[in-house]
Every structure is written in C-alpha cells, then in structure tokens.
Symmetry: C2
Subunit: 234 residues, 2 copies
C-alpha cells in the first residue's frame, strides 16, 4: 500500500478492494474518476491516490494517461456488450431492455461512457455510431410515423438518450434524486416511457411548422434580433 500521502478515502462500496491487483484498482479508480470529473478534470495523481498506489505505478502499467483511458474504454465496452448479449440472446430483446441498466455497476459504466462521449473518445464514438445504425434498423422494421429521414430519426433518438444522461447533474437536481442511482434511474425511465408511448405534439401543428422550414435554409434567414455572432451588448 502506497504511503506517500495518508490514504483516507477508499471506495467504500467496494468489498474486495484489497484483493484486486494494483492494475485493476488503478483501472477502476480511473473509470470512477473519469466518469465523475471527466478526463481533463482528473489527474494521474488523483487516480493513483484513489487506487492506493504511487503515481509512477500508473505509468508502469499503462504507459500514459491516454493509454489508460483507452484501457478503460475497452474494459467498459467489453462489460457492456457482455450484458447486452445476455439480454438479447434468443432472437429479440428478451427483457424490457432498460431494466438491467438499473444495476449500480451498469449505472457507473453508463456514466463513464456518457462522459467519455463528451470527452471525445474514439472508442465510445464508435459505440455511438453502432447504436445509431441499430436504431435505424429497428425503426425501419417497427417503424412508427417516420416521414422518411430514418437516419436523422435514429441519430436524434440515440443522441437524446445519451444526452439525457449527459445532463444527469441537472436532471438529478430537478428530480431531487441522483439519476445514476437505481431509484433515480427508474423514476427517469418511467417518465421516458411516458414520453415514448404518447404523442407530445399535435401532428397538425407539426405539419404547419414543417411547411415553414424550407425558406429558412437561405444562407442568412430573416429572423430575430442580432446581426452576426458578435454585436455590441451589455
């Protein structure tokens, strides 16, 4: 155990902490901290302290901070697809789909991947693309009222889903409960079910709005206040 600075805060919920190899402890600490503060907001010294090792050991095992991130990405993705496989095995979605997500471990991985998307990881970006492709395929089969741009529909669907998690801090504040806890996640999922199963907008209203769109495509649409991104102000 690293004694450089007295280690006070151990991952409390983690029973087998001492049993893990240092390499695994570093990776887990990194996932936790990257998920919480992002890549830039986390220092290798932070990670090392959380893992109970010296900063140098991190470099010994992973080579660099960037390489550590890639290892975390790979690990998170591997575990996620493993769960996904278990729940899609026989044909279609065996379970209700989002329910295994309510497990604390899954929630942490979701949080990590979500943050990783914002941090610009190429690995999770590829995951996003896969999900869009899957969504487009799904929409093509079970298609509800998609006007024709199924690609955009799928991209928006996946973007909203992951984006909602990206806004977890604000959604949690509005709900008074952390949406990355089982309780909060289920409450959020309930509202999402509402949103997805009942139309929110009047189709007539939408049609009218859609008719108003084409003229806006001009290079400089004739709209409200302000000329260019930089006008004088307060």
């Amino acid at each position: 155990m690293y004694k450089g600075v007295r280690v006070m805060a151990r991952p409390v919920g983690d029973p087998a902490f001492e049993d893990l190899t240092a390499r695994a402890r570093i990776r887990d600490a990194a996932i936790r901290l990257f998920a919480e503060r992002g890549m830039d907001g986390t220092t290798v010294r932070d990670i090392a302290q959380q893992a109970g090792v010296s900063p140098g050991l991190l470099r010994h095992h992973f080579g660099s901070k960037e390489a550590l991130r890639e290892a975390c990405d790979a690990y998170a993705l591997e575990r996620l697809v493993k769960v996904k496989e278990e729940f899609i095995v026989d044909g279609e979605v065996a379970n209700a789909g989002f329910l295994p997500s309510a497990h604390p471990t899954m929630l942490l991985l979701y949080k990590y991947v979500t943050r990783s998307l914002l941090d610009g990881s190429t690995g999770t970006a590829a995951l996003f693309d896969d999900m869009v492709a899957m969504a487009e395929q799904w929409v093509g089969k079970h298609a509800p009222g998609v006007t024709g741009d199924s690609r955009a529909y799928a991209a928006v669907l996946v973007g909203m889903q992951s984006g909602l998690l990206a806004m977890h801090e604000h959604v949690s504040r509005a709900l008074g409960v952390d949406v990355f806890t089982t309780e909060g996640y289920l409450r959020m999922a309930g509202a999402m079910a509402d949103l997805y199963s009942h139309p929110l907008l009047d189709p007539e209203f939408v049609a009218k709005a859609r008719r108003a769109m084409p003229p806006l495509r001009a290079p400089n649409p004739p709209t409200a206040a302000g000329t260019e991104p930089a006008a004088e102000g307060a």
Copy 2:
C-alpha cells in the same frame, strides 16, 4: 492590435470585427471558444489571441477567467431571453417555437449555453431549472398521457432537448452535417418533430415494463453479470 505573436486567424465571418471595442471582442471570442472547447479546454491566452489583444488586457477588463465566464453567461442569457420575448409576446407561442433557433447567432448561443451546462455554470443551471418549471406547467395544461410524475416528465423533456445538443458532435457525424448550422439544425428538428408527434413504444409493452420495475428498487437488484463496480477483467 496586439503584435505579441503574429495574428493569423481572425473570425472570418465577422464583418465589423475591427469596429468592436476590445472588451466586446474578448467576450465574443470567449463565447466562441468556450462553446467549442469548453471552459477547461480554453486558455486565456487563446481567447486573447482570437480577440487580437494581449492576455493582460483580458484581466484588466474582466478580472479573472471565471469572471469572464460569468460575463459571457449573462450576455448569452440576456440575448436569449430577448429573442424569446419577441416570439412569445402576444399570449402563446407566436411562432413555431424552434424556428428562430435556426439563425446562426442563436445556434452559437445555444452551443455556448449547452456547453456551459456541462461545465457547471450556476447561471445556466438556473436557466435549466426555469425551463423545467415552464415545461411542467405546459405539460400540466396541454397534458398528453402523463401518468402522474409530471415533474420527472418535464425534467426528462428538457434534459433530452439540451442533452441532444450536448451530443452535437456525434449527431453531426451520424448525419454528415453539423447540427449547429442552419441546414443541420433543421434536419435534426424534422426528426424531433417525428419523434414528438408519433408514439414510439407500444403502450402495452410499456405497461408491462412498468409493472416489472418496483421489485428492482431493492438495494441490490438481482440482475446480470458482475458483482461490484470492480471485478477482475481484461
């Protein structure tokens, strides 16, 4: 004009660049860079260079980087409410609501605010809360099929909307067009209109899933693979 390092890249789309006061140029450059790379990813030296002034002048006018951020927040919010007022004046929403958003200036401000939400600005966090309150009120009046948790419904709605913009990089990649351009934004809006005006999920399926939720609220739900956030792996 600052000559410390030869200034090559000026904001090209900005005709009245030279006419702006240095203070305004700094603020505009900051909004642009904060929107693009976030607060942490932007240095005061970057901002100063973009604005064509010395780094010291930034401190002279704004005091600190954090104070500059707050000035940007205030400016962005002020301009946004000004536009919002113009489009809600007489009673309800006069226009189609999201259409003034298609203006380039608005898109930049949206991008800024979205990023600011992720960067933890208290000002934009308050804006988020306001929007949730407004959404809850709206949903209460024109209520579609909300089961009862209108608060969560509103929070999810606003979270998805802003979160979708937070994922703009990935959505843009999927669509092959930047969603913060007028063209891309309108395409995205079209898909959103589809999504909002037609139910995506079978209400029967949703009801079944909802019935499966309560048992999961136990502290450690009996779900898939993995024990705790940290098990040995790849």
